[in-house]
Protein backbone atom coordinates (compact mmCIF):
# COMPACT_ATOMS: atom_id res chain seq x y z
CA UNK A 1 0.00 0.00 0.00
CA UNK A 2 1.18 3.49 -0.80
CA UNK A 3 2.01 5.97 1.93
CA UNK A 4 2.51 9.67 1.22
CA UNK A 5 4.63 11.58 3.72
CA UNK A 6 4.63 15.34 4.43
CA UNK A 7 7.66 17.08 5.93
CA UNK A 8 9.08 20.57 6.28
CA UNK A 9 12.47 21.45 4.77
CA UNK A 10 14.26 21.00 8.09
CA UNK A 11 13.17 17.39 8.63
CA UNK A 12 13.64 16.52 4.97
CA UNK A 13 17.22 17.80 5.30
CA UNK A 14 16.76 20.43 2.59
CA UNK A 15 17.69 23.31 4.88
CA UNK A 16 16.75 25.35 7.92
CA UNK A 17 14.95 28.62 8.46
CA UNK A 18 16.26 30.01 5.14
CA UNK A 19 13.97 27.49 3.37
CA UNK A 20 10.90 28.52 5.31
CA UNK A 21 9.34 30.28 2.30
CA UNK A 22 9.90 27.29 0.02
CA UNK A 23 6.97 26.36 -2.23
CA UNK A 24 5.77 22.73 -2.12
CA UNK A 25 7.87 20.14 -3.95
CA UNK A 26 7.84 16.38 -4.36
CA UNK A 27 10.71 14.06 -3.45
CA UNK A 28 10.81 10.46 -4.64
CA UNK A 29 10.61 7.91 -1.83
CA UNK A 30 11.28 8.51 1.86
CA UNK A 31 13.63 11.04 3.47
CA UNK A 32 14.56 11.85 7.08
CA UNK A 33 11.96 10.43 9.47
CA UNK A 34 10.31 8.82 6.44
CA UNK A 35 13.13 6.26 6.31
CA UNK A 36 12.40 5.38 9.92
CA UNK A 37 8.70 4.99 9.08
CA UNK A 38 9.55 2.70 6.17
CA UNK A 39 11.58 0.47 8.48
CA UNK A 40 8.66 0.29 10.94
CA UNK A 41 5.63 0.04 8.60
CA UNK A 42 4.42 -3.48 7.86
CA UNK A 43 1.46 -2.76 5.60
CA UNK A 44 2.83 -0.06 3.32
CA UNK A 45 5.81 2.02 2.28
CA UNK A 46 6.35 5.73 1.70
CA UNK A 47 6.40 6.19 -2.08
CA UNK A 48 6.91 9.94 -2.12
CA UNK A 49 7.46 12.87 0.22
CA UNK A 50 5.98 16.32 -0.20
CA UNK A 51 7.95 19.16 1.38
CA UNK A 52 6.81 22.75 1.95
CA UNK A 53 8.28 25.65 3.93
CA UNK A 54 6.46 26.39 7.20
CA UNK A 55 6.07 30.13 6.55
CA UNK A 56 4.99 29.48 2.98
CA UNK A 57 2.21 27.27 4.32
CA UNK A 58 1.18 29.38 7.31
CA UNK A 59 1.07 32.64 5.37
CA UNK A 60 -0.96 31.44 2.36
CA UNK A 61 -2.85 28.49 3.73
CA UNK A 62 -5.49 28.22 1.01
CA UNK A 63 -2.99 28.46 -1.84
CA UNK A 64 -0.39 26.20 -0.22
CA UNK A 65 -3.00 23.58 0.68
CA UNK A 66 -4.17 23.36 -2.94
CA UNK A 67 -0.61 23.11 -4.23
CA UNK A 68 0.29 20.33 -1.81
CA UNK A 69 -2.99 18.49 -2.51
CA UNK A 70 -2.24 18.63 -6.25
CA UNK A 71 1.13 16.94 -5.65
CA UNK A 72 -0.45 14.35 -3.35
CA UNK A 73 -3.31 13.48 -5.75
CA UNK A 74 -0.80 12.50 -8.45
CA UNK A 75 0.50 9.70 -6.20
CA UNK A 76 -2.97 8.33 -5.34
CA UNK A 77 -1.78 7.18 -1.90
CA UNK A 78 -3.71 4.89 0.45
CA UNK A 79 -2.77 6.86 3.55
CA UNK A 80 -1.13 10.16 4.53
CA UNK A 81 1.44 10.71 7.29
CA UNK A 82 2.34 14.28 8.31
CA UNK A 83 5.34 15.10 10.49
CA UNK A 84 5.66 14.50 13.40
CA UNK A 85 5.89 18.23 14.14
CA UNK A 86 6.49 17.96 17.92
CA UNK A 87 6.16 21.46 19.45
CA UNK A 88 6.70 23.45 16.23
CA UNK A 89 3.67 25.74 15.86
CA UNK A 90 3.69 26.61 12.17
CA UNK A 91 4.79 23.12 11.10
CA UNK A 92 2.10 21.66 13.37
CA UNK A 93 -0.58 23.80 11.75
CA UNK A 94 0.57 22.67 8.30
CA UNK A 95 0.49 19.00 9.38
CA UNK A 96 -2.94 19.36 10.98
CA UNK A 97 -4.49 21.37 8.17
CA UNK A 98 -3.13 19.05 5.46
CA UNK A 99 -4.17 15.86 7.26
CA UNK A 100 -7.65 17.27 7.57
CA UNK A 101 -7.70 18.35 3.92
CA UNK A 102 -6.41 14.99 2.67
CA UNK A 103 -9.11 13.12 4.60
CA UNK A 104 -11.80 15.42 3.26
CA UNK A 105 -10.62 15.78 -0.35
CA UNK A 106 -9.02 12.40 -1.04
CA UNK A 107 -11.11 10.29 1.30
CA UNK A 108 -8.06 8.50 2.75
CA UNK A 109 -7.00 8.31 6.40
CA UNK A 110 -4.27 10.51 7.85
CA UNK A 111 -1.97 10.30 10.85
CA UNK A 112 0.13 13.04 12.39
CA UNK A 113 2.16 13.52 15.56
CA UNK A 114 2.18 16.61 17.81
CA UNK A 115 3.26 17.61 21.28
CA UNK A 116 0.24 18.12 23.56
CA UNK A 117 0.89 21.89 23.83
CA UNK A 118 1.33 22.49 20.10
CA UNK A 119 -1.29 25.12 19.14
CA UNK A 120 -2.40 22.86 16.27
CA UNK A 121 -3.69 20.26 18.75
CA UNK A 122 -6.66 22.34 19.81
CA UNK A 123 -7.47 23.20 16.21
CA UNK A 124 -7.47 19.67 14.79
CA UNK A 125 -7.80 17.12 17.61
CA UNK A 126 -11.52 16.55 17.05
CA UNK A 127 -11.00 15.30 13.50
CA UNK A 128 -7.57 13.73 13.44
CA UNK A 129 -5.51 10.82 14.65
CA UNK A 130 -2.79 12.81 16.41
CA UNK A 131 -0.13 10.75 18.16
CA UNK A 132 0.97 12.50 21.34
CA UNK A 133 4.71 13.07 20.85
CA UNK A 134 7.52 14.54 22.93
CA UNK A 135 8.44 18.21 22.74
CA UNK A 136 11.28 17.70 20.32
CA UNK A 137 12.78 15.23 17.88
CA UNK A 138 14.78 13.67 20.73
CA UNK A 139 11.98 11.12 21.12
CA UNK A 140 11.56 10.58 17.37
CA UNK A 141 11.98 6.81 17.42
CA UNK A 142 9.48 6.21 20.22
CA UNK A 143 6.96 8.54 18.59
CA UNK A 144 7.47 7.03 15.13
CA UNK A 145 6.74 3.55 16.52
CA UNK A 146 3.35 4.76 17.78
CA UNK A 147 2.56 6.59 14.51
CA UNK A 148 3.55 3.55 12.42
CA UNK A 149 1.36 1.24 14.56
CA UNK A 150 -1.70 3.46 14.04
CA UNK A 151 -0.91 3.74 10.31
CA UNK A 152 -0.67 -0.06 9.96
CA UNK A 153 -3.99 -0.52 11.75
CA UNK A 154 -5.69 1.96 9.44
CA UNK A 155 -4.15 0.28 6.38
CA UNK A 156 -5.45 -3.11 7.55
CA UNK A 157 -8.86 -1.53 8.06
CA UNK A 158 -8.71 -2.41 11.74
CA UNK A 159 -10.36 -0.36 14.40
CA UNK A 160 -7.99 2.05 16.12
CA UNK A 161 -7.96 1.50 19.90
CA UNK A 162 -8.67 3.95 22.68
CA UNK A 163 -6.39 7.01 22.90
CA UNK A 164 -4.47 5.73 25.93
CA UNK A 165 -3.84 2.37 24.25
CA UNK A 166 -2.54 3.90 21.03
CA UNK A 167 -0.79 6.93 22.47
CA UNK A 168 -3.19 9.28 20.68
CA UNK A 169 -4.45 12.67 21.77
CA UNK A 170 -8.16 12.10 22.60
CA UNK A 171 -10.60 13.36 19.99
CA UNK A 172 -13.21 13.78 22.67
CA UNK A 173 -15.53 11.16 21.14
CA UNK A 174 -17.59 8.80 23.23
CA UNK A 175 -17.49 5.13 22.26
CA UNK A 176 -19.72 2.36 23.52
CA UNK A 177 -17.97 -0.57 25.18
CA UNK A 178 -19.25 -3.59 27.07
CA UNK A 179 -18.42 -3.78 30.77
CA UNK A 180 -18.88 -6.67 33.18
CA UNK A 181 -20.49 -4.47 35.79
CA UNK A 182 -23.53 -2.25 35.41
CA UNK A 183 -23.08 1.52 35.42
CA UNK A 184 -24.65 1.80 38.89
CA UNK A 185 -22.16 -0.70 40.34
CA UNK A 186 -19.25 1.04 38.64
CA UNK A 187 -20.39 4.41 39.96
CA UNK A 188 -20.62 3.09 43.53
CA UNK A 189 -17.17 1.46 43.27
CA UNK A 190 -15.80 4.76 42.00
CA UNK A 191 -17.40 6.65 44.86
CA UNK A 192 -16.01 4.20 47.44
CA UNK A 193 -12.56 4.49 45.89
CA UNK A 194 -12.82 8.28 45.97
CA UNK A 195 -13.87 8.26 49.65
CA UNK A 196 -10.89 6.05 50.43
CA UNK A 197 -8.69 8.61 48.71
CA UNK A 198 -7.72 6.19 45.96
CA UNK A 199 -7.02 7.28 42.43
CA UNK A 200 -10.11 7.18 40.23
CA UNK A 201 -10.50 7.46 36.49
CA UNK A 202 -13.61 9.05 35.04
CA UNK A 203 -15.26 7.22 32.13
CA UNK A 204 -16.34 10.52 30.60
CA UNK A 205 -13.74 13.13 31.41
CA UNK A 206 -15.11 16.65 31.25
CA UNK A 207 -13.10 18.75 28.81
CA UNK A 208 -11.25 21.67 30.30
CA UNK A 209 -11.79 24.90 28.42
CA UNK A 210 -9.72 27.92 29.17
CA UNK A 211 -12.28 30.64 28.65
CA UNK A 212 -10.84 34.12 28.61
CA UNK A 213 -13.19 36.97 29.38
CA UNK A 214 -12.28 39.86 27.09
CA UNK A 215 -11.19 43.00 28.89
CA UNK A 216 -13.65 45.88 28.37
CA UNK A 217 -12.83 48.14 25.41
CA UNK A 218 -11.14 51.51 25.62
CA UNK A 219 -13.76 54.26 25.58
CA UNK A 220 -11.62 57.05 24.19
CA UNK A 221 -8.26 56.45 22.53
CA UNK A 222 -7.30 60.11 22.75
CA UNK A 223 -7.18 59.83 26.52
CA UNK A 224 -5.61 56.35 26.60
CA UNK A 225 -2.07 55.21 27.35
CA UNK A 226 -1.10 52.42 24.97
CA UNK A 227 1.73 49.92 25.41
CA UNK A 228 3.64 48.29 22.56
CA UNK A 229 4.37 44.58 23.10
CA UNK A 230 5.99 42.06 20.78
CA UNK A 231 6.80 38.36 20.74
CA UNK A 232 9.10 38.99 17.77
CA UNK A 233 12.34 38.98 19.79
CA UNK A 234 13.22 42.66 19.16
CA UNK A 235 16.05 43.70 21.53
CA UNK A 236 18.76 46.37 21.67
CA UNK A 237 21.65 45.53 19.34
CA UNK A 238 23.92 42.92 20.91
CA UNK A 239 21.10 41.48 23.04
CA UNK A 240 22.47 42.71 26.40
CA UNK A 241 20.07 40.58 28.49
CA UNK A 242 20.56 37.40 26.48
CA UNK A 243 16.92 37.00 25.50
CA UNK A 244 16.79 33.43 24.12
CA UNK A 245 16.18 32.77 20.42
CA UNK A 246 13.60 30.12 21.40
CA UNK A 247 11.72 28.79 24.45
CA UNK A 248 12.05 32.11 26.28
CA UNK A 249 10.95 32.04 29.90
CA UNK A 250 11.19 35.78 30.53
CA UNK A 251 10.38 39.09 28.85
CA UNK A 252 12.25 42.39 28.95
CA UNK A 253 11.28 46.05 28.99
CA UNK A 254 13.40 48.52 27.05
CA UNK A 255 13.00 52.28 27.29
CA UNK A 256 11.68 53.89 24.12
CA UNK A 257 10.79 57.14 25.85
CA UNK A 258 13.17 59.29 23.81
CA UNK A 259 12.86 57.37 20.55
CA UNK A 260 10.65 58.20 17.60
CA UNK A 261 11.42 54.89 15.89
CA UNK A 262 13.54 51.74 16.32
CA UNK A 263 16.67 52.32 14.27
CA UNK A 264 18.45 49.54 12.42
CA UNK A 265 21.78 48.96 14.13
CA UNK A 266 20.33 49.95 17.51
CA UNK A 267 17.69 47.23 17.67
CA UNK A 268 17.70 43.74 16.19
CA UNK A 269 15.74 40.49 16.21
CA UNK A 270 17.04 37.47 18.09
CA UNK A 271 14.04 35.27 17.22
CA UNK A 272 15.25 32.01 15.63
CA UNK A 273 11.84 31.12 14.18
CA UNK A 274 11.81 33.53 11.23
CA UNK A 275 14.27 35.14 8.85
CA UNK A 276 15.36 38.31 10.73
CA UNK A 277 16.68 40.17 7.66
CA UNK A 278 13.60 42.39 7.18
CA UNK A 279 13.31 43.14 10.90
CA UNK A 280 17.00 43.98 11.18
CA UNK A 281 16.76 46.41 8.25
CA UNK A 282 13.76 48.08 9.89
CA UNK A 283 12.81 46.81 13.40
CA UNK A 284 9.59 48.89 13.20
CA UNK A 285 8.27 46.21 10.83
CA UNK A 286 7.97 43.98 13.89
CA UNK A 287 7.54 46.57 16.67
CA UNK A 288 5.88 49.58 14.97
CA UNK A 289 7.07 52.30 17.34
CA UNK A 290 7.31 54.86 14.50
CA UNK A 291 3.61 54.72 13.64
CA UNK A 292 2.44 54.74 17.25
CA UNK A 293 4.66 57.76 17.91
CA UNK A 294 2.95 59.60 15.04
CA UNK A 295 -0.46 58.62 16.46
CA UNK A 296 0.66 60.04 19.80
CA UNK A 297 1.87 63.31 18.24
CA UNK A 298 -1.41 63.69 16.36
CA UNK A 299 -3.29 63.19 19.62
CA UNK A 300 -5.07 60.07 18.36
CA UNK A 301 -3.74 58.32 21.44
CA UNK A 302 -2.82 60.18 24.59
CA UNK A 303 0.48 58.56 25.39
CA UNK A 304 2.67 55.66 24.47
CA UNK A 305 3.92 53.62 27.44
CA UNK A 306 7.64 54.50 27.69
CA UNK A 307 8.87 50.89 27.37
CA UNK A 308 8.86 48.29 24.63
CA UNK A 309 7.87 44.96 26.20
CA UNK A 310 9.50 42.12 24.31
CA UNK A 311 10.01 38.37 24.37
CA UNK A 312 10.68 35.59 21.89
CA UNK A 313 7.56 33.66 20.97
CA UNK A 314 9.29 30.63 19.50
CA UNK A 315 8.34 27.18 20.88
CA UNK A 316 7.40 28.96 24.09
CA UNK A 317 5.26 26.72 26.27
CA UNK A 318 1.67 27.81 26.85
CA UNK A 319 2.34 27.69 30.59
CA UNK A 320 5.32 30.08 30.33
CA UNK A 321 3.44 32.36 27.93
CA UNK A 322 0.43 32.51 30.25
CA UNK A 323 2.63 33.34 33.24
CA UNK A 324 4.49 36.06 31.33
CA UNK A 325 1.21 37.49 30.05
CA UNK A 326 -0.11 37.77 33.60
CA UNK A 327 3.11 39.40 34.82
CA UNK A 328 3.08 41.89 31.94
CA UNK A 329 -0.60 42.75 32.50
CA UNK A 330 0.07 43.37 36.19
CA UNK A 331 2.97 45.70 35.43
CA UNK A 332 1.02 47.59 32.78
CA UNK A 333 -2.04 48.03 34.97
CA UNK A 334 0.16 49.31 37.82
CA UNK A 335 1.68 51.83 35.41
CA UNK A 336 -1.75 53.11 34.35
CA UNK A 337 -1.71 51.60 30.86
CA UNK A 338 -5.18 51.41 29.33
CA UNK A 339 -4.57 49.06 26.40
CA UNK A 340 -1.87 47.22 24.50
CA UNK A 341 -0.94 46.33 20.95
CA UNK A 342 1.02 43.10 20.69
CA UNK A 343 2.68 41.99 17.47
CA UNK A 344 3.62 38.38 16.82
CA UNK A 345 5.79 36.85 14.15
Amino acid sequence: MKVLHYLNPFFSQLGGEEKTNMAPMRIEGAVGPGRLFNSLLKEGQIVATVVCGDNYYAENMDKAREEVLTLIRKESPDIFIAGPAFNAGRYGIACGDLSHAVMRELGIPAVTGLYMENPAVDLYRRELYIVSTGRSAAGMRKDAVKMAAVTDKLLRGEEVGLPEEEGLIPMGKRVNIFCKEKAAARAVSMLIAKLKGEEIKSETPIPVYDIITPAPPVKDLSSATIALLTTGGIVPEGNPDHLPAATAKFYKKYSIEKLSRLESGQFESVHAGYDPVYANINPNRVAPLDILRIKEQKGEIKKLYPYLVTTTGNSTSVADATRMGKEIAKELLAAGVDAAIMTST
Binding site: P119, I212, T343, T345
Partner: protein
Protein backbone atom coordinates in the same frame (compact mmCIF):
# COMPACT_ATOMS: atom_id res chain seq x y z
CA UNK B 1 -9.59 42.01 34.99
CA UNK B 2 -6.94 42.18 32.32
CA UNK B 3 -6.08 44.81 29.81
CA UNK B 4 -7.58 45.12 26.31
CA UNK B 5 -4.97 43.94 23.82
CA UNK B 6 -4.99 43.90 20.05
CA UNK B 7 -2.99 40.97 18.74
CA UNK B 8 -1.37 41.72 15.39
CA UNK B 9 -0.41 38.30 14.00
CA UNK B 10 -0.12 36.48 10.70
CA UNK B 11 -1.10 32.96 11.80
CA UNK B 12 -4.42 34.06 13.26
CA UNK B 13 -5.70 30.50 14.01
CA UNK B 14 -3.04 30.30 16.75
CA UNK B 15 -4.27 33.56 18.30
CA UNK B 16 -7.82 32.21 18.27
CA UNK B 17 -6.83 28.85 19.73
CA UNK B 18 -5.33 30.48 22.83
CA UNK B 19 -8.36 32.71 23.37
CA UNK B 20 -7.35 36.09 21.93
CA UNK B 21 -10.38 38.16 20.93
CA UNK B 22 -9.01 41.35 19.38
CA UNK B 23 -7.07 39.90 16.46
CA UNK B 24 -5.72 41.90 13.52
CA UNK B 25 -4.30 40.06 10.51
CA UNK B 26 -0.65 40.93 9.86
CA UNK B 27 1.32 40.92 6.60
CA UNK B 28 3.76 38.04 7.04
CA UNK B 29 5.63 36.18 9.77
CA UNK B 30 9.01 37.97 9.37
CA UNK B 31 7.34 41.42 8.99
CA UNK B 32 3.92 41.55 10.65
CA UNK B 33 3.80 45.35 10.23
CA UNK B 34 5.86 45.80 7.09
CA UNK B 35 6.01 45.01 3.40
CA UNK B 36 9.58 45.06 2.03
CA UNK B 37 8.36 44.07 -1.44
CA UNK B 38 6.48 47.34 -1.87
CA UNK B 39 7.70 50.89 -2.38
CA UNK B 40 8.43 52.79 0.81
CA UNK B 41 5.32 54.93 0.32
CA UNK B 42 3.02 51.97 -0.15
CA UNK B 43 4.63 50.14 2.77
CA UNK B 44 4.00 53.10 5.08
CA UNK B 45 0.32 53.31 4.08
CA UNK B 46 -0.10 49.58 4.68
CA UNK B 47 1.66 49.77 8.04
CA UNK B 48 -0.45 52.65 9.26
CA UNK B 49 -3.56 50.83 8.11
CA UNK B 50 -2.72 47.81 10.30
CA UNK B 51 -2.09 49.99 13.35
CA UNK B 52 -5.36 51.82 12.78
CA UNK B 53 -7.16 48.49 12.67
CA UNK B 54 -5.45 47.49 15.92
CA UNK B 55 -6.39 50.76 17.61
CA UNK B 56 -9.97 50.43 16.47
CA UNK B 57 -10.07 46.83 17.79
CA UNK B 58 -9.17 48.23 21.21
CA UNK B 59 -12.31 50.34 21.24
CA UNK B 60 -14.73 47.54 20.35
Amino acid sequence: MGIPTAHVATVTPISKSVGAVRIVGAVAIPYPVGQPNETKEKEEILRENIIEKALSALTS
